[in-house]
């Protein structure tokens, strides 16, 4: 039994130290570790170049439109889905996982749509579906008319809490 106690205690002490901070002792396979790190770096850099190339090729600046979704607090609204229409054409109908909603709550911004639009006047309509105050089903729409110029267009859909009405507000903001 004494042996059991000593082993367990030794394990506990060490494993907690490991648990608190990841511990890495020098190891004989350092060369492989370095190679893996270097490969990760190369593939990341390649992905950066390809990501930019893809964007420039498929969505050139003069026609590019991006729609982002962000959330500020979100205590009055639990997001389930967002439907996005531009000029009455449905472009996205996105269903959120719990993980994605959490990421939005923590300050992340999702790029909901990336596409092309001609220069000129357009109308964007977004429908937000989820659970609202008092656990009731909740669906609201928000609209914006915007002008697409020669540069890329960025539009942000923002769900914010309105403490005065104890309701969520759905705001749309455009960036040039």
């Amino acid at each position: 039994m004494k042996k059991f106690l000593h082993i367990t205690l030794a394990l506990l002490c060490w494993s907690t130290a490991c648990m608190a901070m990841a511990q890495e002792a020098p190891n004989p396979s350092q060369g492989l570790d370095d190679q893996v790190q270097s490969l990760k770096k190369s593939v990341l850099e390649l992905n950066r170049e390809l990501f930019i190339l893809e964007e420039e090729l498929l969505f050139p600046g003069n026609t590019q439109v991006s729609v982002f979704l962000s959330m500020d607090v979100g205590a009055y609204f639990k997001l389930d889905s967002v439907q996005l229409k531009i000029d009455d054409k449905e472009l996205s109908n996105y269903l959120y996982t719990e993980r994605e909603v959490k990421a939005l709550h923590r300050g992340g911004t999702q790029r909901l749509f990336l596409g092309n639009l001609k220069s000129g006047e357009h109308e964007l309509v977004a429908f937000f579906t989820g659970i609202g105050p008092k656990e009731r089903d909740y669906k609201r729409g928000a609209t914006i008319e915007f002008s697409k110029g020669v540069g890329p267009k960025f539009i942000e859909l923002k769900i914010v809490d309105n403490p005065a009405t104890q309701q969520p507000d759905f705001k749309i903001r455009e960036w040039e």
Partner: protein, 609 residues
């Protein structure tokens, strides 16, 4: 994976601090791209988060963001198992920034990076460079990190000093207190250590992490009290551990030993039988297989004891067989298949290794190696996807080029300038007309309209006729009439001349403007044409260059994945062999138990005779 999650926890502070910046008004466009990287990060998609940040930086979306993107990127590199890249980045931040909080945060990150790379002295040196400008939680994290490194270096008194006076009630403080207790125990100050462990164990625990730490504190405390023969308190501590926790098996075993210490073998049987029904991967379960017949023998129930020893022998034999199969499966490369995130459903049951994975995961370094292995599989899939995509981009570019080439004759015609030449000729004509109209030689009829010109021609004919006929007849009246009418024509033309000259000059100005616009349009067209040609060429070159890089990288990734896989196999075989040795040891003990019981029975039977 657990190590990775814990690493995220470590990174948590700088990451958690970010939403505060993001929500501050007025927010700017850059927030969208930064927020997009955060969105990926918060879902633990480190790879995508890094790509988003790198791309946004390259596209110039983060020029005014100062050091935050680099700090976030460094944290991401660390979480994604790239401590070297993280270190380089933090050092760059340190060189660039003169802002004390940024400096302090970068030194803290650098300390964590060095610690992760096993450079403990360098990590301590980085901690020493941190000033007074960390936020509260960061300061706690620094203290805990310093204490941990000192503990790993065996410098327990220093660790105790570093971990003292943790001010807050954060996760860091709880870990700090726990490690402080461990340091005290390692310094043979058991009483102080136990007191601190009791404090940790009785603290509020709202989340799973805090509950796990509380369980762990209770376990260490319970086992230490058990060793100190303070059995009642030991049992109390052990019984507070949640039955579903990771430490529940050791707790159940400990509760049984405590009962035994209280000379109550019967009471030990209940927790031990619960433990014996659990999976044998845990060494506590193996131990209890022997402990149960031991308790039964103390209860002098030799029959039951013998039966349990025999059941134990069967179980150890089965387990050894299972291990042999597992070792053989590892040699056949089955481990790597079972380690895939999603092994084919048909193969899942076939892997004797699946049930042994938790055992392997508990091995030092195995999890990190496994994470690297899975990262390499991801990189492989990523490169394969790009290979397919880039082929389609090449095809798309070719289609676009062909469509442009179809429109090229029209473009060329525009560029040839034939319309412009016509306009320039018109202008020259107009200019000549004005010059003629302004010259003193023939100013009058230069700007005459068609009717006037026709009338003038008629007058000239009439004058000629009058001249010829005048020799023969008296045509005075006719001549006077013709002179009068011509005079009227001259008069009208003379009156109209300045107006017409002004209008013609205006026409010339308008034509000049049209020519100017046509020239600008031609220049723009030429530029667009050249740019388009350049873009096509640029895209084609870019695609080609990137496409060329993929196969070489893919080969390297494949090679590294194979090497990493071999290493994992070696580690697995080594862990399984160690397990076999342990099981053999238990098997011998079980057989000895059987022999001893049989011996006792035969002796008691002999005595009875």
């Amino acid at each position: 994976m657990q190590a990775r999650l814990l690493l995220l926890l470590l990174l948590g502070f700088p990451i958690l601090s970010i939403p505060a910046h993001a929500s501050s008004e007025p927010s700017e466009l850059r927030d969208l791209h930064y927020g997009e990287a955060l969105y990926q990060l918060y879902q633990q998609n480190y790879f995508h988060a890094i790509v988003r940040l790198l791309s946004a930086k390259q596209q110039g979306h983060m020029q005014t963001y100062q050091d935050e993107p680099d700090q976030l990127l460094g944290g991401l590199y660390l979480a994604y198992g790239m401590p070297d890249a993280a270190q380089t980045l933090f050092q760059r931040v340190l060189q660039r920034s003169a802002n004390p909080p940024v400096h302090d945060r970068a030194w803290l990150q650098l300390a964590k990076t060095r610690h992760r790379r096993g450079q403990q002295d360098a990590a301590i040196s980085a901690i020493g460079r941190i000033g007074q400008d960390l936020r509260d939680e960061e300061a706690e994290e620094r203290q805990v990190l310093q204490g941990l490194i000192e503990m790993q270096q065996g410098r327990f008194p220093q660790a105790l000093h570093s971990l003292s006076d943790l001010p807050g009630k954060s996760t860091w403080t709880r870990y700090g207190m726990y490690n402080q207790a461990i340091a005290l125990l390692r310094m043979d100050r058991s009483e102080d250590g136990l007191k601190l462990l009791e404090e940790v164990a009785s603290g509020r625990a709202e989340d799973e992490e805090a509950k796990s730490l509380r369980d762990r504190a209770n376990l260490v405390r319970g086992l230490l009290l058990l060793e100190a023969k303070q059995t009642t308190q030991a049992r109390q501590a052990l019984e507070q551990i949640r039955i579903s926790s990771l430490t529940a098996n050791q707790a159940l075993l400990g509760v049984g030993w405590a009962a035994l210490q209280q000379n109550d073998p019967q009471a030990a049987l209940a927790p031990w039988q619960e433990l014996a029904s659990r999976e044998t991967q845990d060494s506590a379960v193996l131990e209890v297989i022997l402990a149960i017949p031991y308790a039964l023998s103390l209860l002098e129930d030799d029959q039951q004891s013998l039966q349990h020893y025999r059941l134990g022998i069967e179980r150890f034999d089965r387990e050894l067989q299972h291990l042999d199969q597992a070792i053989s499966a590892v040699h056949q490369g089955q481990l790597l298949i079972s380690l895939d995130d999603d092994p084919p459903a048909s193969q899942q049951d076939q892997h004797p290794l699946i049930s042994l994975l938790p055992l392997l995961m508990a091995e030092n370094n195995f999890q990190e190696r496994l994470q690297d292995y899975r990262d390499l599989i991801f990189l492989q899939a990523n490169l394969q996807q790009w290979t397919e995509k880039i082929d389609s981009y090449q095809a798309m570019l070719a289609v676009r080029q062909a469509a442009y080439n179809e429109r090229l004759p029209k473009v060329r015609e525009k560029l040839s300038g034939s319309e412009l030449h016509q306009l320039e000729a018109q202008r020259e004509q107009l200019q000549r007309l004005i010059e003629q109209a302004e010259s003193p030689s023939e100013p009058l009829f230069a700007l005459a309209n068609g009717k006037e010109k026709r009338l003038l021609e008629r007058f000239e004919k009439i004058e000629g006729l009058l001249h010829e006929l005048g020799k023969r007849t008296n045509l005075r009246n006719h001549r006077e009439q013709a002179d009068l009418l011509k005079g009227m024509l001259v008069w009208n033309t003379t009156i109209e001349h300045p107006i017409r000259l002004w209008e013609t000059s205006k026409q010339l100005q308008t034509l000049d403007q049209v020519i100017e616009e046509a020239r600008a349009s031609q220049t723009a067209l030429l530029e667009t044409h050249q740019r388009t040609q350049g873009r096509f060429k640029g895209f084609a070159q870019q695609i080609q260059t990137l496409e060329d890089r993929i196969p070489a990288l893919l080969t390297e990734v494949n090679r590294a994945r194979l090497r990493q896989g071999e290493l994992l196999q070696q580690m697995a075989v080594s862990a399984l062999e160690t397990r076999k040795a342990l099981l053999n040891d238990y098997l011998i003990q079980a057989r000895l138990g059987v022999a001893s019981l049989l011996d006792r029975n035969s002796r008691s039977a002999g005595g009875a005779e």
